[in-house]
């Protein structure tokens, strides 16, 4: 298995639904963006988030300080309920922090409790569910962000077709989401987030609902997309091996209140293949993170 053709290797080893998923020879690598090495930088300073729940205040995040470099791939791991989604929603401008500052490229994405829509234009968000609109075809779903940006129909659908090819959905442009498998829908959601070339990609357990084989393949694809697009990626997962496999740095969160337990660098060479997972270096990192997670009990 050669490391630079991860997708085909994975596709060859993974059983697929007939006619579904990736066709042979599909290249999930998008064209590099011209400004690929100018990806934005994210910074969280003294971020706190307290939810006012019915049972009283919930301290979801406490004293979060984190700087994410341009083009960096950061994984957020932790048990469920430790505030990963909250952190990502704050980063993406979907949720205001109770206190603290969030900046992208040095510019605050919050003006008081109003978010700065201009700063947000550079964000792409992939949710835990694909969240495709059932009334739009796959192509229309992928092109939705372009529609909202006023791109003409012909151009945006051409772009959607291009993206379908990138994520292995060629031939499904005119299908409705309900006609696709979970994995295919998640690919479409990723394509939608990539449609406007965001420089920051925020992903909340995007492969959580997928089976292990599809998940492996999606991870390899995501790696290629990250490499080609040069975007900054913040990737939430509760799987430690997945976090380590993808990331330059793994941020471990611990719960109640949600805070940063540790930040671990992953100095493994890229591109990584499925075999990377059997190297001692990879396993050492995974073991150490598991140990830290277990200490919480």
């Amino acid at each position: 298995m050669t490391p630079d053709t991860p997708l085909r290797d994975a596709a060859a080893s993974a059983p697929m639904a007939p006619g579904a998923e990736i066709g042979a020879g599909t290249l999930p690598v998008p064209a590099p963006r011209p400004d690929a090495n100018q990806s934005a930088e994210l910074q969280l300073v003294d971020v706190n988030k307290i939810y006012q729940a019915r049972t009283g205040p919930v301290e979801a995040l406490k004293n979060i300080n984190l700087t994410i470099g341009r083009g960096e791939f950061v994984s957020l791991v932790g048990r469920s309920g430790c505030g990963k989604t909250t952190l990502l929603r704050i980063l993406s401008g979907l949720l205001p922090p109770t206190s603290g500052s969030v900046t992208a490229n040095g510019e605050s994405i919050w003006r008081g409790t109003r978010r700065d829509d201009q700063a947000l234009k550079q964000f792409g968000f992939v949710f835990q569910e694909a969240n495709l609109f059932p009334w739009f075809t796959i192509a229309e779903n992928i092109a939705l962000p372009l529609k909202l940006r006023g791109v003409a129909k012909k151009q945006r659908l051409a772009r959607a077709e291009e993206l379908c090819a990138q994520v292995g959905l060629t031939g499904f442009e005119g299908s409705y989401p309900r006609e696709l498998s979970g994995g295919m829908r998640q690919r479409a959601a990723i394509a939608r987030a990539l449609s406007y070339n965001p420089s920051i990609l925020l992903m909340d357990e995007p492969f959580g609902a997928l089976d292990a084989l599809t998940r492996d393949r999606m991870n390899l694809e995501l790696q290629s997309i990250h490499a080609a697009a040069g975007a900054t990626v913040v990737f939430v997962t509760h799987s430690i091996p997945e976090a380590v496999f993808l990331a330059d740095r793994v941020v471990l969160l611990s719960p109640r209140p949600g805070r940063i337990r540790s930040v671990t660098s992953v100095p493994l060479a890229r591109p990584r293949s499925l075999e990377t997972e059997s190297t001692p270096q990879f396993q050492d990192i995974v073991r150490e993170l598991r140990r830290q997670l277990d200490e919480e009990d």
Binding site: K121, N131, F133, P134, W135, L148
Partner: protein, 263 residues
């Protein structure tokens, strides 16, 4: 032939069989058991009478009146029901404020108001249209209210994360996700609209199929009475079919619409 195909064909086979059985038992009850033809005319007699009536111009005039009442009343009900449902769905405190009034309105038998409508709006079409609107708009409004409230949170997050404007959110998310609820309400509403028009005609006026039922009753023309009921059933089915067909065209993506590929 596989099971699935058979399952889909089944209604097309079973319905004619049931119809023939029904007519057979009916005919049997009349000609062998000997039920009085003033109580139960034979299906053949009803058929003859139906053909006769279809040939008369006045019958079509009655059909036209009832159809006009139903279509107008239903149309107004769709507009009013959708607007009110959307407003109440969006403004929570308003819905809470008018909730008791809505429940009261829902449980009062609206048909009891027909005499009042006749006093207010006369014996013509208007009083029937008013009753039709009142009966039909309620299920539509309730469905739309529910629909506006059930816009998927995840879908909202998508629009928010894309910095969507209010108008774009309405156009690309709120409207399409509410359409299935509008149609669900309309499918109930059209049935209620037909009931509203007929009951209105029963109770006052000199036009429409409802009036024709009463007129046949008064002239002890049982076969004619049954024939009018057949016409009403056909009219009701036709209008319902139109609404369902419209739904197929407007929301082909929805689960309640079987995709042509699967059919």
């Amino acid at each position: 032939m596989d099971r699935e195909k058979l399952g889909r064909l089944l209604p097309w086979i079973s319905t004619p069989i049931m119809l023939i059985l029904f007519l057979g038992i009916w005919q049997f009850a009349v000609s062998v058991v000997g039920v009085s033809k003033f109580i139960l005319p034979s299906p053949l007699a009803v058929g003859d009478r139906l053909v006769e009536m279809v040939g008369e111009r006045s019958t079509w005039e009655h059909v036209r009146v009832t159809t006009t009442e139903v279509v107008l009343g239903f149309g107004i009900a769709v507009v009013v029901g959708t607007l009110l449902g959307a407003i109440l769905g969006k403004i929570v405190w308003l819905e809470r404020a008018v909730q008791p009034a809505l429940v009261a309105f829902q449980v009062v038998p609206k048909v009891a108001f027909v005499p009042i409508f006749v006093i207010w709006f006369g014996f013509g079409m208007t009083s029937k249209i008013v009753l039709t609107v009142i009966l039909a708009f309620f299920p539509i409004m309730l469905n739309v209210l529910l629909g506006v409230r059930s816009v998927d949170r995840g879908h909202r997050d998508v629009m928010r994360s894309l910095g969507s404007s209010r108008w774009a959110t309405f156009r690309d998310l709120e409207l399409p996700s509410t359409l299935p609820y509008i149609f669900a309400g309309a499918e109930v509403g059209i049935v209620f609209a037909v009931i509203g028009a007929i009951v209105g005609e029963y109770l006052g006026g000199s036009q429409g199929l409802g009036y024709l039922v009463v007129a046949r009753l008064n002239s002890i023309d049982a076969a004619g009475l049954f024939a009018v009921i057949v016409l009403l059933a056909l009219l009701g089915s036709l209008l319902f079919a139109i609404v369902t067909t419209l739904k197929r065209f407007v929301i082909p993506w929805h689960e309640s619409v079987q995709s042509p590929a699967a059919a």
